[in-house]
């Protein structure tokens, strides 16, 4: 009877703990606030593990406290305690109980390991995405639509996104905390000669919205700045987006700016079907939420790394190294007019797909 009371008293504690945990953090960034079935399943396993572990911690803390208080040596106490060698019954108890707890945790773990490793890369209903990580940006290729983008992964809600991830240089790790756990990107871009070491994963976003993505493996000086975004939109918007990506893009009308852009930018970057696709595609750079993944585009700048798209582009092109240490983007010699013109043109390079 008494024991049941203790349990009843602990129940609200656990419930409160869970509530606290599940309310924790930003919905677009926290693992404790999952926004899709994959992150949800992982969160479920985390909750199970945390509950078991809280019980263990409470038991150990309780015994520790009791022992510390009850058996402390009082002044002048010189008696020799009974020298106990051990106790088989107790020792069996604290061997068997942990084993049982591990079975409770182990079975769903193994279940999830296999469940979450399901391969959707051949599923026609899933959106295929090839992720290639670079120092310090993310390249996304949609083989079903033949679309290359960078830094922002646009996906339809309610569909499985099948990711095949590799790295173009060093190890990186692809992580969208609120949608799914991470997967490393291993080097080995040459699929043709058989050295590819591609990793597969899938995820899904239930609700439309923007989710923050992070690089989770040390990859050089700007590892901290290697953020990306996942933009989940409804299916109609996604279809409009894939169509808009294919639409022709006009180069700047001012011939001087156009020449400078072609000469200085399009030697590495692509806009629509023009230029070279070695570094991030600029086709929709004006509608992205960030410049370089880290300068946040907003009209109401609050923090050091925020500004309008135009300001951010200017800041970035003017001195890329100052924004992202170790970036491969060089500082290009541009006149003030060229810089202004290019930044302005790029900031207006938008594609409209959300209605």
């Amino acid at each position: 009877m008494k024991r049941w009371n203790v349990g009843k008293r602990l129940l609200p504690l656990f419930a409160g703990m869970m509530l606290l945990l599940s309310a924790c953090g930003r919905a677009d960034l926290s693992t404790l606030n999952p926004q899709g079935p994959v992150a949800e399943e992982q969160f479920g396993l985390m909750k199970l593990a945390i509950s078991i572990m809280i019980i263990v911690v409470i038991v150990v803390f309780a015994i520790s406290l009791y022992v510390i208080v009850r058996f402390r040596r009082r002044p002048g106490d010189n008696k020799i305690p009974v020298q106990v060698e051990g106790n088989h019954k107790l020792e069996i108890i604290w061997t068997v109980i942990p084993l049982i707890l591990l079975v409770i945790l182990g079975v769903p773990t193994v279940n999830s390991v296999f469940g979450l490793s399901k391969d959707y890369s051949k599923d026609p209903d899933a959106i295929q995405v090839e992720v290639t990580s670079h120092q310090f940006w993310w390249e996304f290729y949609y083989p079903q639509y033949d679309i290359h983008t960078a830094q922002e992964l646009v996906i339809p809600t309610g569909k499985k996104i099948a990711v095949t991830a590799i790295s173009g240089d060093v190890l990186h790790s692809f992580w969208i905390p609120s949608l799914a756990g991470k997967i490393d990107t291993n080097p080995g871009t040459a699929v043709a000669n058989g050295t590819a070491n591609a990793n597969k994963m899938y995820f899904e976003a239930t609700k439309a919205g923007v989710y923050l993505g992070k690089c989770a493996e040390l990859c050089g000086p700007s590892h901290a700045l290697m953020d990306f975004k996942v933009k989940a939109v409804d299916e109609a918007s996604f279809d409009r987006w894939t169509a808009a990506q294919k639409a022709p893009v006009a180069l700047p009308s001012d011939p001087a700016i156009k020449d400078s852009l072609v000469k200085n930018c399009l030697s590495c970057h692509a806009i629509g079907d023009q230029g070279v696709l070695v570094y991030p595609s600029l086709t929709d750079i004006g509608s992205r939420l960030t410049v370089g993944g880290i300068l946040v585009n907003t009209d109401e700048a609050k923090y050091d790394n925020e500004g309008t798209t135009y300001e951010n582009l200017k800041r970035w092109i003017e001195d890329p190294e100052a924004v992202k240490p170790g970036t491969l983007m060089p500082k290009v010699e541009l006149t003030e007019q060229e810089l202004d013109g290019i930044a302005k043109y790029l900031s207006e390079l938008k594609i409209d797909y959300e209605k």
């Binding site: 924790c24 953090g25 930003r26 960034l29 926290s30 693992t31 992982q42 985390m46 593990a49 572990m53 263990v56 911690v57 150990v60 015994i63 510390i68 058996f71 402390r72 040596r73 106490d77 008696k79 305690p81 106990v84 051990g86 106790n87 107790l90 604290w94 942990p98 084993l99 591990l102 182990g106 773990t109 999830s112 390991v113 296999f114 469940g115 979450l116 490793s117 240089d169 060093v170 190890l171 992580w175 756990g181 991470k182 997967i183 490393d184 080995g188 050295t195 070491n197 989770a216 040390l218 050089g220 000086p221 590892h223 901290a224 700045l225 946040v296 923090y303 050091d304 790394n305 240490p325």
Partner: protein, 617 residues
């Protein structure tokens, strides 16, 4: 024969004594000084990391410097601070605990210290020669390869750790042989003190784990210096291979660090509870089992590498299994205290504080073992919090407990209790303040090893709290250093049985122990040998041999020069100056030649000298 060599060997004084010593007690002190200095360096690096992270978009250090700081903090703390401080305690205590006069190979013992020391110095020289290693303490390729780390930093890592690793391997072998061969008569394996058992298993782990690291480092060195292609993907190498090699070493390394702490805690808790260690044989069994399982779980560091579901499931379950023997140990400690008479000295405060702290690190370990959930924890601050709970909350609290406990035996003076308690409380509170909150930072989406974070992500307050905690830990360390100085100047002289409740052989001899440890090798009549004699009403151990002349090893300067040779060779190869490289190796080989050709039988201490020395000490 015995008398032929007496007094013919030159004995040194002052600095030369320390440079040539082969005495395990002095080598222990050398390890403590060097490890302590590196601990301060690593701690300073930690403080700088925390200053950089105390607010968003801080620019206290640059991105490059930050990566150097995290790399050197990890490398220094593991290889140059934690392990040497463990070796300090091993050296200071193990021969005494098993009733031996020295380790099995005193010369090798000195060599092990000096190679560690010069390896560590080499690694830290990198700060002044254009940049420390910056690819993380794990040095994952390709980032650590010559294409992406073209500076010399990572060269310092591969060569410095190889030289330091020689020292560790030598030490491990030495203690294996010592514990197997040099136990006093009557000390069977199942009568060995728990700390000795822990070091025995640890040494076995070192023997099997360190060669894996050496192989990896040699391969990486060949990649970097001579354009080999072990890990170069473009030429058919494999980057994941490095991860495997590193963690095949790296996971046992975790147990190499924590098992000695388990041993220390067992000794301290049992002594200050005035009770026999509860479930001694299951403790031994659990230690062996942890050591064994420690080799089968390395891939849990690689769940996100893409090993596939079968490997992930197997390594998940194997990892969870380690919780069982660890749990056995935790409950055995608790039940050692149960019914005891617990005295809260500073040493025991650290030991008792260790138990719940380590449990918290252990349970997050089991959480991390669930692979699908690990996809979320991996490389986030959750992991940072977890391994600091295990290494700082486990190992460092254990080392503090051990140092406060054996300080009288090492130096002959009692550490100041008030300062000791102050050290404990500031360090303990600072520790939990720094790292408890980091679990949540990780769960809220903060990756590890980032040099800055944006404002408005909800990370600000927690990072600030964590930084304040780090400063408290620094304060605790300062209290400890103050304590060492105060004790050295005016500390109370320690009796042989310094804590009056000593149970093992080290407490049967004067503090500090005389050069020859035991005038007469003791006869061991049971577990907790000294306690058993005390309970039987004896004041001291029964000797197992008559008083006689004692054979001692001669001091030698050769270990120092062998290590200097390797140090020079390391520089030579790093900067492709093969003349210097060859010269350094030649010095090392020359010393080895001298060592092999010169007949050195050591010297003897005669019984009439013994008595005086014993009393003086």
């Amino acid at each position: 024969m015995a008398h032929a060599h007496a007094h013919t060997v030159k004995r040194y004084k002052g600095l030369m004594d320390w440079l040539t010593t082969v005495d395990h007690k002095k080598i222990g002190i050398l390890y403590l000084i060097a490890g302590g200095l590196f601990f301060l360096v690593g701690g300073l690096e930690a403080i700088m990391i925390r200053i950089q992270l105390w607010k968003p978009l801080n620019n206290f250090v640059s991105a490059d410097t930050f990566n150097e700081l995290i790399t050197m903090h990890g490398t220094t703390m593991i290889f140059l601070a934690a392990m040497p401080m463990l070796f300090a305690l091993m050296n200071a205590v193990i021969p005494l605990q098993i009733g031996a006069r020295d380790v099995a190979f005193p010369f090798l013992n000195a060599l092990g210290f000096w190679t560690f020391f010069f390896g560590g110095v080499l690694l830290n020289v990198s700060w002044f020669t254009g940049g420390a290693p910056d690819a993380g303490w794990t040095s994952y390729v390709p980032l650590a390869g010559s294409t992406y780390s073209s500076e010399y930093g990572v060269d310092y890592y591969v060569i410095g750790l190889q030289i330091a690793g020689i020292g560790t391997l030598i030490g491990g072998i030495n203690f294996l042989v010592t514990i197997i061969n040099m136990r006093a008569p009557g000390m069977t394996f199942m009568r060995m003190p728990m700390f000795t058992w822990a070091i025995f298993i640890t040494s076995a782990l070192i023997l099997f784990a360190f060669p894996a690291l050496t192989v990896g480092l040699v391969a990486l060195m060949f990649d970097r210096l001579f354009d080999a292609n072990f890990f170069n993907v473009a030429n058919g190498g494999n980057a994941v291979l490095w991860e495997h090699i590193f963690w095949i070493f790296g996971h046992p390394e975790v147990y190499i660090l924590i098992l000695p702490a388990f041993g220390i805690i067992s000794e301290v808790i049992s002594t200050f509870s005035r009770k026999r260690l509860f479930g001694y044989s299951s403790m031994v069994f659990a230690t062996v089992l942890i050591g064994f399982l420690g080799f089968m779980v390395w891939a849990h560091h690689m769940f996100t590498t893409g090993l596939g579901p079968v490997a992930n499931a197997l390594f998940s379950i194997a990892t969870m299994l380690i919780a069982v023997p660890t749990g056995i140990k935790i409950f055995n400690w608790l039940f050692t205290m149960w019914g005891g008479s617990i005295k809260f000295t500073s040493a025991n405060l650290f030991a008792v504080g260790f138990i719940p702290t380590f449990v918290m690190g252990g349970v997050t370990g089991v959480m991390l073992a669930a692979a699908p959930a690990d996809f979320q924890y991996h490389d986030s601050y959750f992991v940072v919090a977890h391994f600091h709970y295990v290494i700082v909350g486990g190992l460092i609290l254990g080392i503090f407990a051990g140092l406060h406990y054996w300080w009288p035996k090492m130096f002959g003076r009692m550490l100041n209790e008030t300062l000791g308690k102050l050290t404990f409380w500031t360090f303990f509170i600072g520790f939990h303040m720094t790292f408890l909150i980091q679990h949540f930072l990780g769960l809220l989406g903060m990756p590890r090893r980032i040099y800055t974070y944006l404002d408005g992500l909800g990370f600000n307050e927690m990072n600030l709290i964590s930084t304040i905690g780090a400063f408290l830990m620094g304060l605790g360390t300062i209290f400890f250093i103050t304590n060492i100085i105060v004790t050295a100047v005016s500390g109370k002289k320690a009796a042989g049985d310094a804590w009056e409740d000593g149970r093992t052989l080290e407490w049967t001899i004067p503090s500090p122990a005389p050069e020859y440890n035991f005038a007469q090798t003791p006869l061991v009549r049971g577990y907790d040998a000294y306690w058993k004699e005390k309970m039987d009403g004896h004041k001291e151990m029964t000797p197992a041999e008559p008083l006689g002349s004692i054979h001692m090893p001669s001091p030698s300067i050769l270990p120092l020069f062998m290590s200097i040779g390797l140090f020079i060779a390391g520089f030579g190869f790093m900067y492709h100056n093969y003349f210097v490289g060859g010269g350094g190796l030649a010095l090392t080989f020359l010393c080895m030649l001298i060592r092999s050709l010169k007949d050195d039988h050591g010297f003897h201490i005669e019984p009439d000298e013994l008595h005086d020395k014993g009393v003086k000490a």
